[in-house]
Structures are given as structure tokens and as C-alpha cells.
Symmetry: D3
Subunit: 136 residues, 6 copies
């Protein structure tokens, strides 16, 4: 009997789309206004989905407060009110597209969540643009 | 050609997290404020997802009004404006965590939906905490 | 130049509609399922609106973090994960309708917000039922 | 490493539920008010989900602006501010239920999206009624 | 002590923008795709706001269930699953713009709500386009 | 008969809270993480409210498409995918708090909207923090 529990969090960050290995003209051509060298930003909404058996004692797959704490310590402190390109090591050599941010978040959380539990994330860059990643 | 039709419903209920087999101290330690003996409550949002072939005559997997009626009769009348721990048989001996409520709802609906149709539910306890269950 | 700054918060609580001066039959007749003696509950969303001049140094009417702290200390600690009828002094002799909860919240906040600032609140009992109060 | 990117769009359209092969009485009996011969209408929300490998150069599964353009050209121009039964060829002989509209949209998009990429859509007829289709 | 209680409702309808006193060319020129002779449609969201003193017995400005019933009887039955231009008398000679629908709704409700109570409505044609009217 | 028509728009931007006349220590002390010298960012939602008489010919207070165009030309092109502190003249000497951005937007729009029409704006910095301004 496997249930998925989901927790929503958010962080506000600046970024620009930019392949660090490309010159300015190629970045501008590929990413347009998203490549503004002075950055723009987003309110990112993050949904973390954890799948597993329900513990018969607690009735929990994972205590939502523990999951909330893991997300806070692992992701929010690292990304919130930051410039993803400048302040965050994960994107020093990686373009902070929604796809790449989602993969980075999944890898960070995977290391903190019991390996018997499944993990999937949904990351909203805007209400209209979002990505899903399950480590596969 | 298999399509999933989804219907959203909601109910308002009181509950407290409490393993009926544990003493007060253990419940308080495990569940914190969620175990307040005087109860707290939620606006629960429920999404019911039914998967199957599209009927070539009606163009429906299942008539949304029939699905709405099944949810109303089976779940809303049972849970809405109730104290889940006190008024609802399903949680007399079961802790009404989101996980356990989702499993109870799925079991109640499974008995009313054609067995050729797939069934999955999503239950929101709050906008930030929700669970998914597909009977597996 | 007067700007209104708005901060959204929420709390989860149990309640029942019940005039403490009426007998059970009259409460049941007037409030129906909302008067269930075992309580039901809601996820309340609260919007606090503070109006005043923009401080030329900070660019703030009021620091949103200070406002957030006042709401947390004054309202959320008092109401969240509580049974409004049983646990909260404000409704010992007052029926916790959305109207009366809004008036109680406004009075509590009014005492903590600079008297030169205007104060209005919006309280959502559900997505479909909400009330507004400005102390007038 | 497979990521799903999702793009939300919307269109406003009139329709009526009606099997063109049935007489009025049978349509009325089966579809009730939804079969009003003078039509009613909806704000449809469409989510298009595209799954594939992340391009190491761009960091994209698919450029969201290209995906937005495909949806605009293929779906929105075809369905927005239209009467689905009268103006749109896809429903000349097909009842425009949410299920059938979803299948039609999926087929139209499938022809425009690289065959190496997975495709799934979610179509909201109202906030409470929506369908999912993945071409299976 | 005056509180405003708000109730949200919705209806789905077809319409076209069209001044019945103008010819087709002028309607097309002024209203563009919104004037499609075959109609398009919307999910309208309606918020009804009623302002007055809180009754000391009930704790209500107006019983939300009574308000819900008035909206259902007066507006939803009249407009839901209808073609506003064809089926609804209010727009036989009036262009069903959001502005004019709002005024019509306000007038219909004003006749049913106690004259000692204030009345304001908000009508959403889409999430991005909405109007407010208070009878002034 | 005065109706208010409302149009929602949005823009994504980077900013930092910083009084250009203060030193780093004072900015850091006053604005905390919001003063990160490398910037953070937001998805801003903007609601523009225009109040006036309904034109008896069109049924409009103002053509929503014209209002949409004014917002696009005047605000979105100026602020979207920009760094408010660096790229936008309005905040060269002004701290881009939500309050100050709202006042700047109102002033820009006021110059483009017929003076017989009332103007109010609502600016969401996040779902939980927003401001209202009506030029008074």
C-alpha cells in the first residue's frame, strides 16, 4: 500500500540563462531576453513528492514536518533570495534553466531522503512554465 | 485510447492526529500541535481521477455528473462538516492522517466505480500538504 | 501618497457555529450542519491590509517582516491548530462565525499596529465564503 | 536523464454536447443542460507536457518559447473564440466532450513535436472538471 | 460595526460581443474575434459582497446559505449553460460585455437583498479580465 | 453608472532592496537577505483597475484590448526580464520596494489613461506580499 505525500515550498531568486562555455552573442541568440546580463528573477514554487509505505504506527509515509525541514535546510537556505548564477555553486558551470534547477534539487534531496522512498519533484518557474523530474 | 477524467470536490472537517493505541504523551510527542485533544480542522480538496476507454456514443469515459453524484453520496455526505475522529466510523481505530484518509476514500470509491476503470485520488489537507493514492 | 501593503497568512482550526445563550434545538435549527456538537474545521486564509505613507528612507509603509511577525505573534499562535470554541478565550461567549472571527482579529491587530496606519482585514473561511472588516 | 517540461495555455470557446448521429431527444436525455442547442461555453486551460533528455548545450528539453509557439499556431488559433461544434472541423462529426477535445489536441500536437519526445496533455473544462491524455 | 460577507459562485455561458443596433461590419471592426457570429464562451466567476451590521444573535450579516440560495435562484438558473445573447432576456437588446453583465446581475440581486444591506459584485470573465460594480 | 474594469498582467524581474543613499551596512541591517548585492527576483503580478461610465455604444468602460496594449507598451516592455535596480531608470535613485514600484507603475499608467477615468493598481510581489495604490 504505497502512498505519495507532497509538500509545496517556494523560493525567490535571480538568474539569467547563459551557457558559460558560449560567448555573449550565442547566449543572446539562443536565450533572448532570458539572457539579460543584469539578470531577471522568479518566484519559484517547488513541490516535493515522496512515495512509500504508510507506517502503521504514525499513519505517515514521512512526517510532513520532517520533510518540510529537509526542504528548508537543503533547498530554501541554498537558493532563496540568491542569484542562482553567482551565489550558488550548483550553477557555476551549469545553465540555471528550469530543467537543470530541477535536476540539481532532486539530487540534493535524494541524498537526504530514505532510499526506500521514491522521490519526484515539480518546479514552477512561473504559473505557465514548469518542469517535472523523477531521477530517471 | 485511454483517457483520465478528473473531478474536484471538497469537504470541511475537524480532526486530530492520534494513534488510538498510544497514550497521550506519545501522541503529543509524535504529532505535536496536530494532536490537540480539542481538535483542529481543514478544508479538504479531493480530486478523483478515473481512467478508461472513451465511449464512442457519449464521448465520455464516465459521465461527470454521475461521478460527481458518486463522490457526493459516498464521500461528501460521510465526511463534510464532521469530526473525523468522532463522527466517522472509518477513523474510530485509525489515525486520520492525510495518508489514511486518502486510502479510506479510495476504498470507498473503488467499490462504487466500474472495475474496468482505473482509479486514483489526490487529497489536499492544505494548499501545501497533499497526498496521492492509486490503490497500489 | 498613501499606499496599502497586504500580507497573507493562514491558520487551521476547528469550530462549530453556536450561540452559547441558545439551546441545542435553536442552534441546530439556525446553523444546521455547521452546528455539529463534535465540531468541523477550516483552513482559514487571512489577508491583513495596512495603509499609510511610504517612508522615504526605507520605501516601506511597514516592513513586511515586522507585519508578518505581528500577525504570527498576535493571531497565528492564538488560533492555529486550535478549537476556536474551546481553546480560544475570544469565542468563549461569542459565536465563531467568519464575521465575529474577523472582528476579533481586527481588534487584536489594531492594538499592535501604529494608530497612524489604516487597518483592514479579509478572512477566507473557504475559497467561496469570506468576509472583510475595516473597524467601521 | 529525462525531464518533463510543461506549458500552460488557454482558449475561450462555445460548445454543446451533442452526438451528431442522435436525435434531439436522445441528446437532451443524455447530456441535459450541456446539450442546449444555443450553446454554452468555457475558459479552457491546457497544459502540454513534453518529456525527453536535457540538451547539454541549451539546458532545455525543448525551448519553452518554441513550445509556446507550437501551441499557439496549432491549438489556440484553431480553437480560441470559436464555436467548437460549428467552426472547428475536428468536431463536425465528433461530440466536443472534454475527452474528445483532449484527444484531438494531442493528435494535432503529436504531429508537430519531435517523435523522440513524450507528449501528455491536461485539459481543464472548468476548475472542477478536467481530463488527461497521453496517447495510449 | 459593519462587516462585508462575500460569496463566490460561477456559471458557464456562451456569448458574442455585438451591439444589436449596429451592422455586422461595425460589430466586427469594434469587437474583432469577440464578435464571432457563432459565439464563444466563458466560465464566469461571480463574487457577491453584502455589507451590514452583524446580527448579535446569529453572528451573521446574512446567512451564507440564504445568500447562496438567492444567487442560485436569481443568477445561476438564469445564466448557467445558456447563450447570453439568445437565451437570456437581459441581453436581447444589450451587448453582453462584462460591464453590462455585471450591471444586470447587480440589478437582479439588488431586488432580492434587504435594502439596508450594501451590495457590490465582482465578475470574472477570465482570470485576467474582470469587472466590479456597486450600483453607483 | 460607474463600473471598474480590471486587467491582470505580469512581469519577471530581478531586484535588491537598497537605499542608494545609505552604505552597505545600513542596507544590510535594514533589508536583510532582500539586500543581497547580487540580487534576487520575483514573478510580479499586476492588476490595473480603471473606473468610469459604460459607453452605451460599445458596452465598455475601456476596450480591454486597448488597456492590455497600454499595459504592455508602458509597463511590461519596461520592466519584464529586467534588473529593476540596474536596467530601469525609475529605480536609479529609488529603492524598488513593492510600494515604490506600485507608485512608479501608477504614474506611468496615469499619463496614458484618459483623465476622466479612475485608476488603481494592485501589485503582487509574491502570493503573500502585495500592495495597492490609487494615487491618493
Amino acid at each position: 500500500m504505497s502512498v505519495t505525500v507532497c509538500r509545496k515550498a517556494h523560493f525567490n531568486a535571480a538568474h539569467r540563462l547563459c551557457n558559460p562555455g558560449w560567448d555573449d552573442a550565442e547566449n543572446e541568440k539562443t536565450f533572448g531576453v532570458c539572457s539579460n546580463p543584469n539578470y531577471h528573477g522568479h518566484n519559484y514554487d517547488l513541490i516535493v513528492k515522496v512515495t512509500g509505505e504508510v507506517n502503521p504506527g504514525t499513519g505517515f509515509v514521512i512526517d510532513m514536518n520532517i520533510l518540510k525541514g529537509i526542504i528548508e535546510e537543503t533547498i530554501i537556505k541554498r537558493y532563496d533570495h540568491k542569484n542562482l548564477n553567482v551565489d550558488v555553486e550548483d550553477f557555476k558551470n551549469t545553465n540555471p534553466t528550469a530543467e537543470n534547477i530541477a535536476v540539481a534539487i532532486w539530487n540534493l534531496l535524494r541524498a537526504k531522503i530514505d532510499e526506500n522512498l521514491g522521490l519526484k519533484i515539480v518546479l514552477y518557474e512561473t504559473e505557465r512554465n514548469f518542469v517535472e523530474y523523477a531521477g530517471e
